[in-house]
């Protein structure tokens, strides 16, 4: 017994020592922690959270959205969108000019720019990057579908020739299609993971953990260094909203989006918030607009009835905690095509919708629709809306990697989508163009043909604007889609950091400044 007691004491002593050692180690390391206080701006460090890591850093594979925080820091784009206005502005190209019919675009490059390896940025570099993107299978090749040739006229002039005027091309130069890579390293294997660009930062590969954390160091020799006050930019991939919120509160990041339900817990004295009212549009896409396979959807009354049926305010308040804005149209409220008066076209009126369905003679019709990771939270509300007007919905479970195939397969009459904004020309084409993603059955009629005829031949956007507006109004009245809400978000920034944009500019480090 005494032996047991001795052993027990010994075990307790060991346990106590181990616990003390661990606690001491933790306390000591806590003291030497590299965790930053929320006032990290004093050190000119910006650490922000994103949900999506960049796929590839190859200039021919650059995806837009949050991925741009990383690659947009390594690469310069030819143009950029100004904070708070979304206006196109010169960047690496100090000017751009179309010929009369929009089949030639002349870009004049800024002088004195260099890649991070010290080589000069010349028209030859732009030519090489563009030519490679045109011929490399990937996300950007399609953006060059109208380009016939790219020629470096002289050291600072690039001539892009088109088979036809492409109204989306210039806005795309603010995004991946406008990135400039170092022509001498473009073909290297490292380009996909550690490319040479002429942007304001270089990737610190030693400190970077791909898919988790990207550390970027500012280039002091960058031509526009004053627009980027942060000496270090850290992009943390935090897919879980609670993890992101915790990291923000713990001072591990100093900028990040915060879910509406967590906003109340944010310390107002330590953080300021910026509300982005519209980041993307959520809508039920009517895929068979002509009613070729599902005749009910070819009847405008049924399409309008679906629009009347959806309780947009209910979805916004109940499921999105008010984070966003209800809409009857898909064009960005920050663009020029958006028309606020159209948003009262379809008030929530199930009785009116039911009447329209009955008039059209399609009461009792049931449609299949893919159930994806995007739709799950909204399916009950949308199904109820269809039920309210005498229609039915059958959600068919589709794995994430098959969501796009299902949308394009022709097997479904409807699809639930949340799509980010691009530009007014880009959005017009994506939703209503005969080859647009949201229009996989290539619907067109005399009106859309005529309007796209004008849009695709009018080089001056302001002159084409009436046609865009007519297209928007026509699409709303014809109910080609059932837009629900513009989904929004809220950025929180720690003391010392300020948000310079409100949702109109792309996701780059330029959105943030020193307070």
């Amino acid at each position: 017994m005494s032996s047991t007691a001795t052993r027990g004491r010994a075990l307790r002593s060991v346990a106590f020592l181990a616990a003390t050692a661990t606690a001491t180690a933790l306390a000591l390391t806590a003291c030497s922690s590299d965790a930053q206080e929320p006032t990290a701006a004093a050190a000119h460090n910006l650490a922000l959270a994103v949900v999506t890591p960049p796929n590839s850093l190859d200039p021919a594979q650059l995806a837009d959205g949050q991925q741009m925080f990383v690659w947009g820091s390594v690469f310069d784009t030819l143009l950029y969108k100004e904070n708070k206005t979304g206006e196109l502005k010169p960047n690496a190209a100090e000017s751009w000019e179309y010929n009369e019919d929009g089949t030639q675009l002349t870009l004049k490059l800024r002088k004195g720019m260099t890649f991070s390896n010290g080589r000069p940025v010349t028209a030859k570099a732009v030519e090489a990057t563009m030519r490679r993107t045109m011929t490399t299978p990937g996300v950007l090749k399609i953006k060059y579908s109208a380009v016939k040739s790219v020629t470096a006229v002289d050291d600072s002039t690039v001539l892009v020739e088109f088979t036809r005027f492409d109204p989306q091309f210039v806005p795309n130069l603010t995004l991946g299609a406008g990135a400039i890579g170092d022509p001498d390293t473009l073909a290297d294997k490292r380009t996909a993971t550690d490319p040479i660009g002429s942007g304001p930062y270089t990737l610190d590969t030693a400190a970077t953990v791909p898919g988790s954390k990207y550390v970027l160091k500012k280039r002091n020799d960058y031509w526009n260094a004053s627009a980027y006050p942060f000496t270090t930019l850290t992009v943390r991939v935090l897919q879980d909203p609670t993890a992101s919120f915790n990291a923000l509160q713990a001072g591990e990041i100093n900028a990040g989006t915060v879910q509406a339900q967590l906003l109340g817990r944010l310390d107002k004295n330590a953080f300021s918030t910026t509300r982005i009212e519209a980041q993307a549009v959520m809508y039920v896409d009517i895929l068979d607009r002509k009613g070729e396979k599902w005749p009910a959807l070819g009847d405008v009354r049924v399409r309008q009835a679906i629009n009347y049926a959806i309780d947009r305010e209910g979805i916004l308040k109940g499921l999105l905690q008010g984070n966003g804005k209800v809409t009857n149209q898909i064009f960005s409220p920050y663009g020029k095509v958006y028309d606020a008066s159209l948003d009262s076209t379809y008030p929530h009126d199930a009785a009116r919708g039911k009447e329209l369905v009955r008039e059209a003679g399609y009461a009792g019709t049931t449609f299949k629709i893919p159930s994806t990771f995007l739709s799950t939270s909204f399916e009950a509300s949308i199904s109820q809306a269809f039920k309210d007007i005498g229609l039915g919905l059958e959600w068919v479970s589709v794995p994430p990697q098959q969501a796009q195939t299902a949308h394009l397969s022709g097997d479904y009459p409807l699809s639930f989508q949340i799509t980010g904004f691009n530009s007014d020309p880009g959005d017009a084409n994506l939703h209503f163009g005969p080859d647009g993603f949201a229009n996989p059955r290539h619907y067109k009629d005399a009106t859309t043909d005529g309007l796209f005829g004008t849009i695709n031949t009018t080089v001056d956007f302001d002159k084409a604007l009436p046609a865009y507006k007519q297209l928007n109004e026509y699409a709303v009245k014809q109910a080609f889609e059932a837009p629900i809400v513009f989904t929004g978000g809220t950025w929180a920034t720690a003391k010392g950091i300020t948000m310079l944009d409100d949702g109109k500019a792309p996701s780059t480090a330029r959105l943030f400044g020193l307070a």
Binding site: S3, T4, A30, P137, Q401, A403, T405
Partner: protein
């Protein structure tokens, strides 16, 4: 013994081949979907065809699998179709993160479970009730909830530990310890709840056996009976539970990695599956099968060492 180990490893390899073949055949059904996902909304039939060809997905499935196998034997698991990062080094890097949480968690789980189980079984009474109560609490409290609560208290409020992220051991041992502290505690609580009950049960059975009574009548001390005889006999089934616990912790790691934003194996596998990143999924599959094979083999060998009756000659 060597022949036994060789046979088990060979069986593991055959299993790995079968599992990877089945996985590849299942993945082959979605090659086109993956290409469309890579190309995004602007994918056209022409660009889908071009990229399908570029990735080699237009070849017969068995030819592609054979090609993958050939590269595997050369130690090349290919590159992610999204990031172009090499799969082998990425998987190893991610596995390192996950193992650096699971291994300490497992060691602490074994020590605590053994202590609690033996204490409860040998002392009985209040000690037993306390141990069972602790196990029950560990079962009842969801790991995710516990993780969130610990982060809030220790990281957000007290700022003693990091809320997210991982520091490699080689980079900064102190920061590494801090970065794994809460995840390890969460895994340990769940693990101890399960394993302590198993050890307790086995120990009670052993302490009721005739040989224990005989040892007692011969004046052998309780500590000696418990530690040298009963625990050794009870350890064999506990080892099997331990190997299952190890595999289960790999599953739990996904949740833990997500909550703590750790760049581990679970989150890597999850994201690759969501995206349909075929080379990564194949790499994860082969590593997973080999890992399970090695753990099971290790468990059997340890069982044989502990229990001569279980030894394979």
């Amino acid at each position: 013994m060597l022949a036994y180990i060789s046979r088990r490893l060979a069986a593991g390899l055959v299993l790995a081949l079968l599992v990877t073949l089945i996985t590849f055949l299942m993945l082959s059904l979605s090659f086109q979907d993956v290409v469309r996902t890579i190309l995004g909304q602007s994918a056209t039939p022409e660009s889908v065809d071009a990229m399908t060809k570029q990735l080699g997905y237009d070849r017969p499935v068995l030819v592609q699998y054979g090609d993958w196998l050939l590269h595997l034997f050369r130690g090349d698991l290919g590159s992610s179709v999204y990031t172009s990062l090499p799969v082998a080094s990425s998987v190893l890097q991610r596995l390192g993160v996950t193992l650096s949480i699971i291994v300490p968690a497992l060691i602490i789980t074994v020590l605590l479970s053994t202590f609690l189980g033996v204490w409860a079984a040998s002392r009985g009474g209040i000690a037993d009730r306390v141990a069972q109560g602790l196990s029950l609490v560990g079962y009842i409290v969801p790991g995710l909830l516990l993780a969130i609560a610990l982060v809030y208290v220790l990281a957000v409020r007290a700022k003693l530990l990091p809320a997210t992220g991982y520091t490699p051991l080689a980079e900064n041992p102190g920061a590494w310890l801090r970065s794994i502290a809460i995840p390890v505690v969460v895994l340990v609580i769940g693990g101890v709840a399960n394993m302590a009950a198993q050890v307790r049960g086995r120990m009670i059975d052993e302490l009721r056996r005739d040989y224990v009574r005989t040892l007692r009548t011969r004046g052998i001390s309780t500590t000696s009976i418990v530690v040298r005889h009963a625990l050794r006999n009870a350890a064999s089934p506990a080892l099997t539970v331990l190997s299952l616990e190890f595999i289960q912790m790999f599953g739990s790691a996904l949740i833990i990695e997500n909550v703590f934003a750790l760049p581990g194996y679970g989150s890597y596998a999850f994201n690759a599956s969501l995206q349909g990143d075929i080379p990564v999924i194949m790499g994860i599959t082969i590593f997973g099968v080999l890992l399970v094979t090695v753990v099971n083999l290790g468990t059997d060998l340890a069982n044989g060492w502990l229990n001569p009756k279980a030894r394979v000659h």
